[in-house]
Structure formats: C-alpha cells, structure tokens
Assembly symmetry: C2
Homo-oligomer: 324 residues x 2
C-alpha cells in the first residue's frame, strides 16, 4: 500500500508538472497571458464570484488575422485567384473581361480597382455553380496542395501557435469553441477540424445561397451565385445569435470587422473576455493596424482601452508565431 501511495503521489507531481508546462507555453509571461489565465481560472472556480456554468462557456474566434495570417490578401481571395487560373481554359472570354483579366495577368492593381463589384464577381465565378460536395472537394484539394506566395508553405501551416494553444486551453476548461469569420463558411469547414479541432457545425461565416435538387443520381445541394449572409461587422453578433443562440463569454478578433462581436460578447451581464490580436511583428509575421486595407484595426483599438479588452502584442507576447 505504501508503494501504491508513492506511485499516486508521483503521478500527481507529474500531472501538475505537465499542467504547468502545458498552459499557453508559446506565450511570454506578461499582462496578456496573465489576463487570459486569470479569466479562465475565475470562470471555472466553483462557487467563485465569476463562475460560469459549463453550458455558458462559449468562445468565438475570428479566423483571418486572428487564427492564421491574412497577408498579402485574405487566403480565400488567393484561393479564388488560383481557381480563376485553373478554370481559365474553360473561359476564353476571361482574357478580355475584368476582373478575370487582371487575375490572369497578375495585375493586382487592376484587380483592386475592380472594387467590391469585381470581388463579388470573382467569388461567384469560383464559388458557385457546383454542388456542395464538389466545392468541398475543390477546397480540400487546394488546402492540401497550395502554397503561400511569399512564405512558400501550405496555408494551414500559417496558423498562430499561441492561438492554437489558447483554443486548447479554453476547451480543456470546458469552453465550446466556435469560429466566427467574415470568410466563407464552406471555405473553412473542410479543414478546420484537422487544423483547429473545431467541427464543421461550430463554424459561423459568410455564405451564398444553396438550392436542394433531386437528380437521377440522388439529392444534391447546388451553390447559387447569390449572397445569403455576410458575417462581418454588425453581421457577426447576428451570425452568433443565428447559429449559436446565446451570447459568448469569450471573443477574439484582430480588426474592425470584429468590433461588434467584441462589444456583444463583453456587453452582457456575466463575466466576459475580449481579446484583440495586434499585428506588430514585421519580422516574424506582418506589422499593420490603422492604415491597412486588409484587417484594418482602428476603431476597435480605440475601444479596447475603454472596454477593458486585452490587446495582444504579437511581437512582445508571443514566443513563437507559427508552429514550425
């Protein structure tokens, strides 16, 4: 029996030791890490003033710029560009037609000049007109083979190691984690389980309409060139309400597109946490905020201080950026 007790004690020491090492290891000691851990310990302390029942532990994370990089452009736009090039031989008319001409000539200035209208055309030409299963296959194939133009790595390697640890830390403490992104819901669903440990039904995003059809081969859902929902800015609380149906206790974002999600999450009565990832690391990732076209962080940065949100300084707070 004495041997048994020694073994149990040894296990406990090892467990505690592992626990210590395992909490947010890629985060430097500092105010951000301390605030996160303080919040999580508070809401999980049974009988504590800030205790949250497990069913109220809902966490929402923006994707682009919060869980993975978003430069030189949203990765979904780079996907659309790759798709235009892959489909060009079936569309000889694209050689003379904007925004496709710009894409095929790698003329990013002309592409930008095509504006939101051009962007929507690009998305519809590459994201609609096939069944949902076909689109899933296209995304799965692309994400497995495509490489970032500058960093020459698969996009799924350009996820932030400290944020992966934060997802795990929250889940280990009973949080149910959702992605709430301006990006396309069906662009994310095929790979988020493997990369983030988030199942498809815990993804909220922008969408185009789909239509049910019974074909000779069986039932299909066809993707239509028509916007269904834009999950950005004031659309994020709407999307959260629509898909999740309750107010989160934890929200993480990186841009003004996340402002209303952060307001909504931290504007209730119970304990809550708002987190902003600030891109301050030109060496290891990118540095940008108020003047950036992609991922502009301006109003949300102003509100962060007033509302007590934690602004993560990528350069100072993160021991490493990417998993590699």
């Amino acid at each position: 029996m004495r041997v048994a007790r020694i073994i149990v004690a040894l296990f406990m020491v090892l467990a505690v030791g592992n626990g210590f090492a395992a909490v947010l290891p890629s985060w430097n000691e500092g105010a951000s890490r301390t605030a996160i851990i303080g919040f999580v310990e508070g809401v999980t302390e049974t009988g504590g003033a800030n205790y949250l029942a497990p069913e109220d532990r809902i966490a929402v994370f923006d994707n682009d710029g919060t869980l993975w990089s978003e430069k030189p452009a949203y990765f979904q736009l780079l996907f659309a560009i790759d798709r235009v090039k892959a489909l060009a031989s079936q569309h000889p008319e694209w050689k003379e037609q904007q925004p496709f001409k710009a894409v095929l000539e790698n003329d990013m200035e002309a592409l930008a000049a095509s504006g939101e209208k051009g962007l929507v055309e690009l998305v519809m030409a590459t994201h609609a007109g096939m069944t949902t299963s076909e689109f899933e296959e296209i995304v799965t194939e692309w994400i497995a083979t495509a490489e970032h133009p500058k960093l020459k790595r698969p996009y799924t390697q350009l996820v932030f190691q400290p944020m992966l640890e934060l997802l795990d830390y929250l889940r280990d403490n009973g949080f149910k984690v959702f992605i709430v992104s301006g990006g396309g819901i069906e662009f994310m669903r095929p790979w988020v389980q493997q990369v983030y440990g988030v199942p498809p039904e815990q993804v909220v995003g922008s969408s185009i309409k789909v239509k049910y059809e019974m074909r000779d081969s069986g039932p299909v859902l066809v993707r239509l060139p028509e916007i269904d929902f834009i999950d950005d800015k004031a659309g994020k609380p709407v999307g959260i309400h629509k898909f999740i149906g309750r107010r989160p206790a934890f929200a993480a974002g990186n841009s003004d597109g996340d402002l209303q999600m952060l307001q909504w999450t931290t504007g209730g009565e119970g304990p809550s946490f708002g987190l902003i990832v600030r891109h301050t690391d030109a060496e290891r990732e990118w540095a940008y905020d108020r003047d950036s076209h992609v991922g502009r962080l301006d109003k949300a940065l102003d509100e962060a201080a007033a509302r007590g949100w934690t602004v993560v300084d990528m350069k100072a707070d993160w021991r490493k950026v990417y998993p590699h």
Copy 2:
C-alpha cells in the same frame, strides 16, 4: 483479490441488465424497435461494414408532430394567439382588423380564411419588434405557464416518451442530436435543453431577421418583421447544410415537410436511417395522415416503402405516448 473480482463481475452483470432494460423501454417489441436497434448497433460496431466514426453520427429530428404533439394546431400558433390576447389592450385597432379580430373572437374559421398572409401578420405582430432577450423571456414565461386547450397540461408535457428515449439512446451511442424544425428557432431554443437535452446551438429552425444596435444600456439584437429563412420542405436540407455543414446519418420526421430532409439524409453513400412517426392513435393522441391540414403525411408515406424508411405506428409501436 477474489472479492474484488466478484464485485467487478457483479457490476458487469448489473450494467448489462440495466442496459437491456434501459434501451427504448416504451417501445413495443416489433419491426420499428428492431430496425432502430439494428441500425445503431451496426454503426457503432468497430470494424463492422456499417461502422460510422463518432463525428459522422449526426441525427436530426423534426419537432412538431415528431417530438411533441401538433394538434389542434402547431403549438407556436397557439402561442401567437395567446400573445395577441395578451397584447390586445395595447392594440384597440385589432378589434376590427383581421386576422386579429378572428383571434380575439376565437373564430378559428375566420383565422383559417386569412390564409398564409394572415398567419405571417400574426407572427410578425407577436414575434417581432422586441429585442432577442425580451422575446426569450416571453417564450420562457409562456412555456412555463400556458396549458394545452384540450389536454389541460403544459405543452412540455405533451412530448413523446418513446422519442425522448430515442434521443437518449442515440446520444448514448455517440450521436450528436439536432432539432430541424419548420418552427421558429427562437421559439424553441429557450426550453429544448431542459425538455429534450438539446442545447440551443443544436437547433435549426425558421427565423426572422435581427439587427444589431448599440443602445445607451448596451448592445442589443432587435427582431425585425421580415422573414429570414423558412426551414421547411426543401428548406430543411438547406438548413441542415447551413447550420450543421454535413449530411446526417439519422433523420426522424412525421410529415411531408420532412420529405426532403429524409431524402437528403438517406440519399448519401454511408449507412443511414429514415424514420417517420405516423399518428395512428386517436385514443391516446391523434390519428391523421393524408388529409390533415396540420402535419399532412402523404408523399413521404408513399416514398417510405420505396426508400426503406421505418414508419412508426404510434398505436402499435408505443407502449406509452406521453411521459405522464
């Protein structure tokens, strides 16, 4: 050590014994119960031909007529009627204005005559114009206090005991259970956790639009008198795809409104199960199918045989109907 082994063996016997007694006890022995158990044992048998990985064990259940009764009218319509009466003093004009006049005079014929247009007016007058939190409170209060006009019981007691057991049985076998109803998503979310063990984020339903607003008191979502999504008929596979993002392996419904959901669920490549609850019990519940205005079961009944769906005969298959 011998004593310990005997205790372990005893526990195993008890566990097996309990397991036997616990599986679908309110279902009579027969083809329906046998088919359900056969399917579940098949998809959970590691290495078996019909094995489904836990993440593919998605089950979807219609609500009205499948999990609870729907006569004399959908319970949500009875809620709307109660709301009109509660709000009538603030709307003197309703005394002369259809469909409100019909409701206030308990003239169900005139109400029916107001058609879909009248129904939408009734829904918008009672479901829109408040914040989402306010609506949640209204539903919570109503569901806790209102009584069924004929059966004189709270509506949450008019759920089907055999179906509650089926939800538990599927969950015990690793299924994630969703409700996919033509009813209002926000009419169901406040009480489905307590009644069905289904959390709010696993409810798919019809919805009206909401709008984010920052008020002096904090952020709110306001319910607008505008339809967002109708989760019925061909809308059900669309809703499933939108909210869940993968094809279910198990679907249960009771009417033609569930036809496309059943087709979609059982029209894929893996093992799947389609179930139809047929209302055959005029004594303990109601008996209706092809000619009913509420919950008409006609086309789906014709397809059931061709597609191998299990048609549950309420009278023959269910030992009891309600929990009481």
